[in-house]
Subunit: 340 residues, 2 copies
């Protein structure tokens, strides 16, 4: 009888443990399952534990738990070209039938001939013209619907999947983990604010109002008695480098306690975050994984790049600061994309 009771207890306990495990409520559950164990994963977990421990020396009120994330190269793939540039090039092709003159005009001529070297040769002037025709001259509603349609159909040239499926699973883990611990997560990106907003909620769980980015000027006007906001071909704000702390101050109005980036454009955001009082976490994604994604630096001898460059000076600064951490995609991430 005693033996049977013991056996029964064991079975009940086992079933109960299995239920806990499967329902995901176990205290031992891994909050960052796509991360390999190591100092970087540990730094995230220890930071979250410290700032959420009520009565502890590092406790931070929920309202001040602000975390900011760069987008391109930090939350999703930015090679071989920025997703927004891929969108712009596709738009030029889609608009070409209405612009027969583009056959003879750069940078359009090169885009239509799929001559990326020619596009690059058109330089900043060419890029400005591409952005003007693809990003301005329409209402905000029209632009949003064009972007939404494009995300639904366009595919990344190497991975042959929608761009929205090329978010990094380990960073989605971090976003979810932070939010589960009372953080408010924001994107602070050099990319266009209205290009990102149509997809950030679905892809990252970040609503439009928590997206900070670069923007062009807009104009409110009445068209046939209905108010519209028109997009103008004039720069309003560049949310890159020193623009990132300025954008954070302007849009969020609070200093983040954690910031994540991947390039020289994120340096000032991380410096601004780190200069606040109390415990802080600054992390940089380093792309050293040509096999699963891409490898570029030029820091630490990785190939140089014009897209999302991580200069050696940034690596040196990160190594010199105790609460800055460089994430090795190759070593730290068990999995890169959601569908692997």
């Amino acid at each position: 009888m005693r033996k049977n009771t013991f056996l029964l207890s064991s079975i009940v306990a086992g079933v109960f443990a299995a239920m806990l495990f499967e329902s995901g409520v176990s205290a031992q559950e891994d909050p960052l399952p796509s991360w390999n164990d190591g100092p970087n994963k540990q730094a995230i977990v220890e930071f979250v534990a410290a700032v959420t421990k009520e009565g502890g020396p590092d406790f931070v009120e929920p309202g001040a738990r602000i975390a900011t994330f760069d987008n391109d190269g930090t939350l999703w793939t930015e090679h071989p070209i920025y997703t927004q540039l891929a969108f712009a090039l596709d738009q030029v092709k889609a608009m070409a039938p209405d612009h027969p003159e583009w056959k003879d005009e750069e940078p359009f001529k090169s885009i239509l001939a799929e001559d990326m070297k020619g596009v690059a040769a058109s330089g900043k002037k060419g890029l400005t013209e591409i952005l003007a025709v693809t990003h301005a001259g329409m209402s905000t509603a029209e632009f949003e619907s064009t972007v939404t349609d494009w995300f639904a159909t366009a595919k990344h040239p190497r991975f042959d999947r929608p761009y929205t499926e090329l978010a990094y699973q380990p960073m989605l883990d971090v976003l979810n983990y932070l939010r589960a611990n009372g953080f408010k997560t924001f994107i602070v990106s050099g990319g266009g604010i209205e290009f990102m907003r149509p997809m950030t909620d679905e892809v990252y769980g970040i609503p439009a109002e928590q997206v900070v980015g670069s923007s062009i000027r807009t104009k409110f006007e009445m068209q046939d008695g209905k108010p519209v906001i028109m997009r103008l071909a004039e720069v309003n704000f560049i949310d890159d480098k020193d623009g990132k702390p300025i954008g954070i101050n302007q849009y969020i109005g609070k200093r983040p306690i954690a910031s994540f980036g991947n390039s020289g454009g994120d340096r000032e955001m991380l410096e601004w975050t780190g200069a606040g009082d109390g415990k802080r976490l600054m992390m940089l994604v380093f792309h050293d994984d040509a096999k699963r994604e891409y490898a570029y630096g030029p820091a630490d001898g990785q190939p140089d790049t014009h897209i999302g460059a991580f200069p050696q000076s940034l690596m040196d600064e990160a190594n010199a600061r105790a609460n800055w951490h460089v994430i090795s995609m190759k070593d730290d991430w068990k999995q890169v994309f959601p569908s692997e």
Copy 2:
């Protein structure tokens, strides 16, 4: 026995009802206790019921339940002068010992002599100079601490209470009621964004990142190896009139389904809100209560004013649109301020 059981049941039911009433969980609880019954209170309650009824024709997903509120004259008192102007004048007085030259220079001379007509006579040029010396030339951190200190000590000349106690209780009711129904509440004000942010969470339950306002340009720089954001004497954005829908689009990135204002500066915000699909609520606070607060228009024959003017054309537009409602402070509000 039957009679006793009946009596007991009545007592139990009565006690239970009293408990419900006192604990505030009764379905009959008034969600807007500071409002008098009438069409305006009814419009708010019916709107909220409609957009939150799952499966109903007017249902709106929680993520799209965005409500925007003007601040001066809509959420708190703006007479006899805007609170931010009262702050600026007090700052000039506080800074005067370091500026002996102000004794002979307008608009400072008039401010120090408490000559408000002289200040007004200095016009836009004078106002720009006042704002430059009181709002620029310091870091964002210094400005925040100056504003916080001022709010802790300054008092309204008529009501002899801190400005932060001059929020309108009926609007606090609306903010709480909307948030309890899954709305995200934003301030969209012509006032300075960094002047409002230090007090909005405490006064309205609206965190800094949900405050949109006018701003000056800022500059990120290193001072003694520490990053600071300096406030420059250059306008960045004026969040008034057509600037309100532009600011909403830029900061929030979603069109509100409800908007609240009180002056000609809110017209475009309400038009933009109302032009979206589905059920919408647009409301304007009309100050017709000189006894409990102030009376000004010039609409409907109220005294004309330079501060928060409600023109007749706005009244006509509101009357012509079915889902615009003009709130009479005198008739609709049972109570004006929290401590009455």
